[in-house]
Symmetry: C2
Subunit: 657 residues, 2 copies
């Protein structure tokens, strides 16, 4: 681009600079009065606000002028997108889905077994959760790329939250029941958020906070796996790095098992190498995808023939055969565990939601289709509610598997169906074969899976872009690593909120100066060459003026003025007679803001300095008018461009002796 004119360059007649002796309106081009938006009555205003808040995506637009039966069909398609994409489903699409489905199945089976350990549950529950939920999602979900199932972070979270309430060894039954209760309420939470169109609430978890939280969780999870990879029998229940390291070094002399270590380390190396290949050559994405199942098979076979389990190599030992038993009767609908289950469910539900929605959005953007966040939530919620009644624990969209699914060329959620069928077969036929699978291999698989969650590049970018975001990110990260998952999450949320509050309390203000030879006015700290106009102070307020910042804005403007006056005194310049407030960025103002302006006006009157407003937006001018403030200030002192205002001031000060 060639030339740069700022927004203050309004009424830019190159010939005229701000020192123009007289204020000559004739030089103005075509005149448009500042337009007041058409008066809305209260009802329409109210409904509009509501719509923008809850229905900004205008979900009903497609129902407009349609026949009743058509409306019903659309409604059905809305609830069950399967009817939408199902209609033009064909073999070529199925091929893609089949391949993708098989790939993610081979990836998910070993992961599920490992993740269920993170949640302190028996291995089969992980597989259960990869059987029913994907089927539900395939019918209700609108994302084509997401792969459903248990995920590391949520498993760790629910595991540690449940462990705080019930011990999973002493009273296993209660622990199980509480797990299902939590899953149930996680589903309820998700569905409710979606149904009430409160999806935007999850926006309050900032991207930075999530990056930090995920990274921290990944580290924690990896550390947990040392238990299996090193074959340590006595391991801490805590998840913070200190106590984990203590119990690792504490058992260094006795309790480490070299056979286990050999298996663990060697296969971990193999998995990481596979990952590396996949990264190097995108065509070989399937290598890291099937590496886990291969290593499981190899390791299991190896242990079986060498009977290494006799040498103390811990193995899965026992894994239920058969499909999900019902667990409706196990959910607590009464008693003290109801509240606990609800609390845990709420947290896990929201975290799961955040992950799933983030993934969904990413891939939707890649393939360019819209994703209705609220609809997604209803789908995920229903899926977990049904899951909780069929012995599943909280399932959601998995980063690693969704990526594989995408790369394997999935076309529709059918890939999830394929996966769940494979899982079904596994449950029916081959689970017993996992008896000799060493835990070490599962540990290595999880480590290689979660490493991807430590997104240091994102962290670096955050550092570059926004330091405050970086603090939030690190806060969440260290919170999880050094304290616990809950603490980390708490820190993430509270920093996110603190950031919002800080934003609205302390907006930016800038002292404007004139760029020599133009009618452009710019921030003097940004443009050192910008000259101040003698006798005039020009301040720009870079934010809406609300109750939360009105007093700050007022005081800050006055401080700019005082600084200016000190300067003029020091340099013996003419007294300051005008304060121009450039309001272009002031999007909105509320009653407190108007009071602040009023105080400012009174305050200036005392010092006989003229307050001048420049370019207030339509909503602002409307409110100023409603509050009669325009009359006080005098509409002749409200300009639509700084240059006009300055010309007005200079002219006036020349007229006065």
């Amino acid at each position: 681009m060639v030339h740069h004119i700022s927004d203050e360059a309004a009424a830019n007649e190159p010939s005229v600079t701000t020192q123009a002796p007289a204020y000559d309106p004739s030089q103005a081009p075509l005149v448009y009065k500042v337009g007041y938006p058409p008066q809305k009555n209260l009802a329409s205003e109210f409904t509009e606000t509501l719509r923008e808040t809850f229905f900004h995506d205008n979900p009903l637009r497609q129902y407009k002028d349609q026949s009743l039966c058509r409306k019903f069909m659309i409604g059905l398609e809305f609830l069950f997108p399967v009817f939408e994409w199902g209609r033009d489903y064909n073999f070529s699409k199925f091929k893609g889905d089949l391949i993708a489905g098989l790939t993610i199945a081979s990836l998910c089976i070993p992961q599920d077994i490992g993740y269920s350990k993170l949640a302190n549950l028996d291995p089969q529950y992980g597989l259960y959760s990869s059987f029913i939920p994907p089927l539900i999602y395939a019918a209700m979900g609108s994302s084509r790329d997401i792969a459903i199932g248990p995920v590391a972070v949520v498993s760790l979270l629910i595991g540690s939250l449940l462990q705080n309430e019930v011990d999973h060894v002493k009273n296993k039954e209660e622990y199980m029941r509480l797990a299902f209760t939590a899953t149930f309420f996680a589903g309820i939470t998700q569905a409710a958020l979606g149904f009430l169109r409160l999806g935007f609430l999850i926006e309050f978890l900032s991207h930075a906070a999530i990056v930090g939280f995920m990274g921290g969780a990944a580290i924690t999870i990896a550390l947990q796996q040392l238990k299996y990879v090193l074959g340590i029998s006595q391991f801490t229940r805590k998840t913070d790095i200190i106590s984990v390291m203590e119990s690792v070094w504490g058992s260094v002399h006795h309790g480490w098992n070299w056979q286990t270590i050999v298996i663990g380390i060697s296969f971990l190396a193999f998995l990481l190498f596979a990952k590396y290949i996949g990264k190097k050559n995108k065509k070989l994405f399937w290598v890291p995808a099937i590496a886990p199942i291969i290593s499981v098979i190899l390791a299991t076979f190896f242990v079986y023939i060498t009977r290494a389990d006799k040498q103390g190599v811990q193995i899965v030992r026992k894994i239920e055969k058969g499909i999900n038993p019902s667990s409706v009767h196990k959910i607590y609908f009464t008693g003290p565990f109801l509240a606990k289950g609800f609390k845990i469910g709420l947290v896990c539900g929201i975290v799961g939601l955040t992950e799933a929605v983030a993934i969904g959005r990413t891939f939707a953007a890649m393939k360019d289709y819209q994703l209705d966040g609220n609809k997604e939530m209803v789908a995920l919620g229903t899926m977990n509610i049904v899951g909780s009644m069929t012995s599943c624990y909280v399932a959601t969209g998995s980063f690693s598997r969704s990526a594989v699914n995408f790369m394997a060329g999935c076309k529709t959620p059918v890939s999830n169906v394929v996966m769940s069928i494979v899982v079904l077969l596994t449950l029916l036929v081959i689970t017993p074969l996992f008896k000799y699978t060493p835990n070490a291999i599962l540990g290595s698989i999880i480590i290689s899976a979660v490493i991807g969650l430590v997104d240091y590049e994102a962290a670096i970018l955050i550092w570059k872009v926004d330091k405050l975001d970086f603090i939030a990110c690190m806060g969440a990260f260290f919170g999880v690593v050094f304290a616990s998952v809950e603490i980390g999450l708490l820190i993430a949320v509270s920093i996110s909120f603190a950031k919002i509050l800080l934003q609205v309390t302390r907006p930016r203000t800038a002292l404007l100066g004139n760029l020599p030879g133009t009618t452009i006015y710019r921030n003097t700290s940004q443009y050192p060459e910008a000259r101040l106009i003698p006798g005039v102070v020009i301040v720009r307020v870079d934010s809406a003026i609300y109750f939360s910042n009105s007093n700050y804005v007022r005081e800050r403007i006055l401080r700019w003025l005082t600084d200016g006056e000190d300067k003029t005194k020091a340099e013996g310049l003419p007294k300051i007679n005008f304060l121009i407030v450039e309001m272009s960025p002031v999007i909105d103002i509320d009653t407190s803001g108007i009071h602040a302006l009023e105080d400012l006006y009174k305050n200036l009157q005392k010092r006989d300095i003229q307050l001048i407003l420049s370019n207030p937006g339509s909503i602002v001018i409307e409110k100023l008018h409603a509050s009669k403030l325009t009359e006080h200030i005098g509409s002749s002192n409200i300009f639509l461009a700084v240059s006009d205002a300055v010309r007005f001031c200079t002219t006036k000060s020349m007229q006065e002796p």
Copy 2:
């Protein structure tokens, strides 16, 4: 003002309209490249943020290059402004203060006795609280007009909060002790907020919410007085209008006392008439000011001679003589009451603070002197801490008395000293005379005093200016009137926060069109005459893009685009090839915002639509650059004015077949 050019009118060459055949840079006036603000290192950036957050009023500026002893003096004057204004204190000033002091004294004595009843305390405690605290404030406070003492709302608040914990009849001693404890912690809270320069936290109580809360409290207080004015013996402990009305009508046949009613009503009429006179003629401000004490004297005398108390007219009966006894030993520093006292103190402290600071600011603006909010808080806090040790309960700045103080022509806080001396004399000498003062008169005085707090004009203004503010206002009002003071306060705070969150989640966006014959681009809904440019969609985002709204902004922009495409399809216009995002009002952007823009960009690429940014602010462009997004979009697609961008688009689409 004569001519109106919008901020989009950058590069405004009247001759050239957007349909200009070719993009001719030569027409550009003097060129300034968009300036990157000088790179700050992290430390300075951090300190700057800190300073703006906590020291935006730059309190240390006056210490710059001063001698050490001078510095000490300034520090002393900072803590005790008395040294500042005391130096040039003279007789003429004293005259003003004397008159003002006597006036507010005559007003405060009857009020204090009444207010202490609101707090369920014996009458003398109200007087105590008007003796010590004003002296402290006179030395430390920086407002010249504020009148210190117990106030209606805080008295009601502390009364009802304490009553929730301890019954003031059954265990009076405990109640007293808890009251002093609460007062102590109210002081601590206030001082701490000021000392830690967290004064801005009270900004989060929006003006609207306060108006509603005050109004509601006033109504509640007035209703409470019916007990005295109607001479009802059996009266509810609740404060909500329903139960109050029940106990009023319940006792209509028996329990109303006609003599009391006569006294109450007649003097209430007298007081309101006096108020009316004061309003009519500002010179007669003293009439409503001394009316209360006069009516007290008359009523007391009347009861004394007629011995109306024998006819069941309730009288003050007993009021301690002598000055404040120490109450240090009565404060709970341990035990279960510590926490309760702290909680109550926190709430009362903050409410008191809000009231005092609001008053202080109002009068400071009128007389044009700056008020350091944090300094005020330290003063008020110290005053209450000392007060809690000298049998005072929470004192703060009173609306009614401060106004009188101001109108009576006070010059310095000396008026407070005068008042407290008068109160001292009252305590020492004439308290016994109050024995026969009927409660009815106190009731009437309070009613006439609090009526002023129902600021219906403010409410109307709020309604006019901002409907959401109005909801907050009404919520607080009805919360107090129908539920309780605490509930009302809770509603006020939560609505205030909800408003902030809504603001940051759902910013405005606008579809821009060209004003025929100019290069001005304006909101089409505001300017119906604005024409859309064929093949181009121009959207303005009216807010900073943060994590809390980034996704909404992205989706909203896409929706504008889709609407545009539907329209073009319907009208058979040329396909849309360009999306221009006008970013002038986008003050800032964070990582989530950048991701949203990136997604938007990818999304548009898929539809092969060119994303073009117009006039991003310096901070924004800096961050876009840091995140390499500028490279993706191509810096040749970033313009500093919509008109340039449009000309670029039109030219391009002409070149392409």
